[in-house]
Amino acid sequence: MVFERILEGKDHLWAVRNMEKPKNELALLFDSWNDIGFLMDFFMENLDDLKQFFHIQRISDAIDDTMDDAEELQRLILDIPYTENLDELFTPLGSADLTIRELTREKARNWDRIGHASWLRVYAIRLEKNVFVVTGGAIKLTRSMQERPHTQEQLDKLNSCRQYLLDNGVFDADSFISLIEED
């Protein structure tokens, strides 16, 4: 598994890079969220979820909302203060990630979206204080990630990256102690 630093000169945000794809996971994610054809196919396939959970009937409305929200999320990732403090942008994925401190699975979203709640998610592993590796992201229309194949796939990618980092000893007892001391 290889990685790319997202911002030159900054150590805190990285993304997984699959060399069989043209870009890293974060760049690909925002490409897809800015591709109307991709979004049209997605919302056509998931129209029932869109209607049931968000009461949106028009695919063009869902696409418009997605692109506006992606722009805002992109700004949050690139702009200070979030760039300098990603621990405020990312939150633990679920209850299992609240009970551990090392290599937690995390999600970022635009919490301040006006209208319906944001359905865009950026998924990452938190390596240590304010250091994250993005594994992917999704348009999440359902309550849990296990409910749909495209979100389950993202959960699998999170788990796979976490296991890879664990297997390679990125986190160990020493760093756990230093992390506690920092707090």
Partner: protein
Amino acid sequence: MKTKAIKFLESHQSGEQSTFEADAQWRKENESWLKRSRNVALAIVDYMQDNALSRNDVAQRLNVSPQYVSKILSGKVNFSFKSIAEIEEKLGVDCFRAAAAVDVG
């Protein structure tokens, strides 16, 4: 002083530079015309949903390839007057009205 995690990431880099920031910058710099292209694409999406049409159906009506329809739907097309006229005449989608519906400023 770099931590163990940062050292690990630096020793497992792809060897290529991330495009994320440059992509974002390009979208920002081209925001004005991209918004107009996006609105035309969204008008075509409305047309497709209302008439239950696929890309192939639209391609047939425009007498173009499905790949060209995909390009139109990407939202990143700098339309020519010729292609706008064809979309308006063959699909009945008002591209100019759609493109004009942009908040300026």
